[in-house]
Structures are given as C-alpha cells and as structure tokens.
Symmetry: C2
Subunit: 327 residues, 2 copies
C-alpha cells in the first residue's frame, strides 16, 4: 500500500505538504506544488489510510446503527433512511442486528466503542436500561423504541398512544362495536403505549375493555395469526387494532382461513405503513409512521450532537391514518 510518505518522496516535498494539499488546507501552498502533488496522487492511485487519520483525529466519520433485524421491513426502511442521511453528510454506517437480544445489543455497543464510532443509533431491545448503555459515553440517539436513560440522548419517536388511539377511534367511527387488540407483550415502552392508546379510545367511547379481546405476544406475522384464533375462541369481534402491520398480515391470513371476510365482517387496522401494505389483499388500512424519516432524523440529530451544533434532541414525528380497504 502506498503511503503519504511515498507520495511526498515522489513529489520532492514533505508529507506535511502532501497532507495539506490532499485536505485542501492549501492556502500557503504554491500552485505549482499543489498541482504536482495532485498529479502524483492521481497517477499512483494513492488512497489515504483512514485508520491512521482516525487515530490522529480521534474521529472515524462512522456511526453504528443497532436494530433488531434488517430483514424486518420496518427496520430496513429505518436503516435506509439512516444510511442515506449519513452518506449525504460524509458518514459511513456500521450495521448491527441485535435480534432483540440484550446480550447481542451489549456486545455491539462494546464493539462499536472499540471501533471508535462517532455515534450510535439504537433501537433498544428492551425497556430496562443495561449498564452497557449508561456506561457508553458516545453520542447516542434512540429511534422508535424509547428508553429511560440517565444520560442525555437524542430521541426520535412517534406518539404511540395517539397512534392506536386514532386507529381505534377510526374503527369505532366505521361502526365497530367489539374491537380486539393484537400486539406485542409490554416488554418496552412502545408496546405499552400502543396498548394504552387502544384502551383510552375504548374508555372514552364507553366501551368495555375485555381482556379476552386482547392478545399480546410479539410484533410478528405469527402473533397476528395466533391472535385471530385466540380472539375467536373467546368470542367474537368486528374490528381488530393491530400493534403493527406484520401482525395485521397474520390477522388477515388467519381470518381468511376461517372464512371471515375483511372488511365486511371484521375490520382491520395496522400500524407503521410498511411498504408492502398496499399490495395485500385487501390493501391494509394503517397508522402511518414516517419510517424512512425516523432513520433520517436519527442521523441528523446524531450528527448534530457529534458536531456539537445544538439542536432539538427530541423529535416526535407525526402519525396519520392511511385509509385503504381493510377498514
């Protein structure tokens, strides 16, 4: 590998001069040397060693993003938003899948610190704070799943209570009299909040909150599928508010198997607006989150923190109902 020293030798200058030219700090460099150096750099295909540079500069222009699973449509969109924003600002992204495991999350926090990333974007696996997190003093922003933390961190979230509240109200406005709720267990704030919004809407409309109509497991298609069987064993509903779109997919599938028509017999509303919702049958009515933007803003806020520009640390983005055919 050719180094700055070698370029310097070939150009009959010092490596300091080469460094200045390369980095555009060429105020006091003669036009002639500048040109000569640049030519040689080009000719030799010189590529600066970013590792050496990072060691000296104490910054890597790299951020880490820890999320449960890129294969999940929601998180892949967050990741894309983040990567695009990072690229625009000259940062590079290390991708870490936690598989919702706290251990893996901790492991990655550690690795990212070793790699000296300038900042970390985290979708936390659980609600409880781990020591890893508090200890880590790299700039951090939390996306999607919020978390109580002593130290200051950025937060990019939506109002989840409001989201399911609006969703449930929408179902009620469509004439539903008996509304079920299928979602994840309350292992994190987000899941808690979504349940809360559902209950709030029922309460305000004088409808009974029936534990038999609530099925909580995880944010997966399978949960939706199981949820249908659970709900219809316990009785009957004419509307289901789903904790996310994946669950809604499973619910619709389960309903089809049971020969129950959507939306005629049971209306379904999801949450997230993942990109395939509109291709489902029936196309999914859902609560839209600006998913891509979540990732984008996470990076923007993170980089502001890194570069010490002050900026709002907490952003609550808006949700809105997207009406399609399932409700």
């Amino acid at each position: 590998m050719i180094t700055i020293k070698e370029i310097a030798r070939l150009a009959n200058v010092s490596s300091a001069t080469v460094s200045k030219v390369i980095n555009g700090k060429d105020r006091y460099i003669s036009e002639e040397t500048r040109k000569r150096v640049l030519e040689i750099v080009e000719r030799e295909g010189y590529i600066p060693n970013g590792i050496a540079k990072s060691l000296k500069m104490k910054r890597t222009k790299t951020i880490g993003i820890i999320l449960p699973d890129v294969m999940n449509l929601f998180f892949s969109e967050v990741a894309k938003g983040a990567e695009d924003a990072a690229e625009r600002k000259g940062y590079t992204v290390i991708l870490c899948n936690s598989d919702n495991s706290k251990a893996k999350e901790g492991k990655y926090i550690n690795i990212l610190q070793e790699k000296m990333v300038d900042g970390i974007i985290l979708t936390a696996s659980e609600a409880e704070t781990s020591k890893y997190l508090e200890r880590c003093n790299i700039p951090m922003v939390l996306v999607d799943r919020d978390l109580e933390l002593e130290k200051p961190v950025g937060r990019i979230v939506v109002d989840n209570v409001e989201g399911t509240y609006k969703a449930t109200n929408y179902l009620i406005s469509k004439g539903c009299k008996s509304i079920g709720f299928v979602s994840s267990q309350e292992v994190n704030k987000l899941a808690k909040e979504r349940l809360l919004g559902y209950k709030k809407a029922l309460r305000e409309n004088g409808m009974e909150i029936d534990p038999n109509k609530i099925f909580l497991k995880s944010f997966t298609v399978e949960t939706g599928y199981e949820g249908v069987y659970h709900l219809f064993n316990q009785g009957h509903v004419d509307g289901i508010c789903c904790g996310n779109d994946l669950i809604a997919i499973g619910v619709i599938q389960g309903l089809k198997e049971k020969g129950i028509s959507v939306p005629e017999e049971v209306k379904i509303i999801g949450f997230d607006n993942i990109c395939i919702g509109k291709y489902l049958d029936p196309p999914l009515t859902t609560v839209r989150q600006p998913i891509y933007k979540l990732g984008e803003e996470a990076v923007n806020v993170l980089i502001s923190i890194i570069e010490k520009k002050d900026i709002e640390m907490v952003k609550v983005l808006d949700t809105e109902i997207v009406v399609r055919a399932s409700a």
Copy 2:
C-alpha cells in the same frame, strides 16, 4: 478515554504486559500479574482502541457490503445473512446502498478502501466493469449479480438461466399456451440470463418467441404493473413469467385492476421467493433462491479469502420452484 498506558501505570507493569494479558498471549505472564491487570481493566471499564490496533495490525475485522438498496426485500435478506455470518466470525459490517448508481458504487469502493476494510461484498450495479473495481485490491466477492473481472474474486450466484427455464416450463406444464415475460432490461448478466432461460423453454417446447409478449424495464413493482398493460395492449397471454417477485406483485395488481383472475385466466410465477410472497393474494408461486444463504456464503467465502484459507471461490446455489396459488 482511558488507554493501555494508563492501565499499565495503575497495575505497575508495562503496556506490553497489559497488551499480552488482554490478548491472551499470556503464556509467560505470571498468574498474579495477569489477575491484577484483568481486575484493573474491569474496574476501569477499559475499552481497547480498535483503531490503534487496526493501524498496527493492518486489519480492521470489518467488511463492507455494497448493495442496491436495503429497503428491497431481497437485499435486506442478503444483508441479514451476511451480517449474521460476519458476527459469528468476529467481523463487523459496513452497509452501503448504491441505489444502482455506478457513481455511488465507485464512491463507496473508495471509502471502503480508505476505511481499510478487510474485504468487500458487492452486488454490482451494472454489467460493465468500472476501473474502480479492477483497481481495488481488497479481497472481494460478488453476490447475486455476476460480473466479468480480470482479477480473481469470489462469486456466489444461482443459475439464473435454469431458474426462468424451470419457471417457464412449469407454466407450460400447467397448460399455458401463450406466455409473457416481464423483467428488467438487460443491463446486467443476471437480467440477460433470466430472459435467456425463458426463451430457451419456449424454444424447446416449439413455442414462438414474440417480442410483444416481452416487457423489460426494471426489477420493480411498477414495472410489473406497466408490464400487464403493455402485454394486454399487444394481445393476450395466459401465463406470465416474472423476472422477480417484486415484478410479480405489480403484475398481480395490474391484473386485478383489469378484472383478470389469477391463476384461472392468467398464471403468474415470480423469482426469488421474498418473504412476503406467501402473504400475497393469491400467494405467489415462485422460483426460490436461498437468499439468506447467498449473504451468508458470501461472507464465508470472503473471510476464507481474507484469512487465506483456500476454499472454492465460486458457489452456484440451487433454485427450486415453490408452488403456491398463483400458478
């Protein structure tokens, strides 16, 4: 940030000793010192500076993965397979989205070289080789989209000719007499091959190859949708072989709009077997690629190259028809 030197001072040893202990090169270290050092490391929460280590060792334990778009279900699965495999082997992954732009691809190749990644996994944007690629002498493996390259690289692909050949034959076996093909333009080897397989099947079955029944644009839902209108303007088909599942989604949507039933009037087969295919209406019959494994194997081969174990550089993985309801 606390350094190895500081730990050394606290433990009354040299940094050389600390280094040896940390890295398990402690054959000649007394049990007592070893313990003492480890305790202090633990107590102080010392995290080694991986950048300094990388500079010295000339390896970063990091690989770069360049793919068109993680939001695309196919590539997010490749990415997950790759990340999981990398994690198992102690490597970390830098994610780069090229958006199918050759310029961005080149830019990333450059950045990854600066970051001194140990290897690169690439899903090339186009068929032509760019100078960037030939110049780059970091170990590389190509996934999904193959490419002619002078230098030796790993390749993880499926037999695309065979894939669409099998798909088209399947349609024929189901009684289709007039089969259309909707896919991407032949900008890369993969697209060329899939078209070839389709033509081969028709030819072998004595069926006419009608340019009006072929619509080539890109590997997107929109192309599928447009393709339907194109095909049915030009005449009529009773089966459509799609270049990938995304296209199939668009085709099914277009057909629905036109009130044409699938699979009764037109049978549809996709390619890839992305994870949502089974939730479509009707569930999608398709040519399965082992997508996750593509990513996994890419990393395995790459790391073998990096670590100079010899191994098969080229892997052709199998495809198989997954029969669901659309054909």
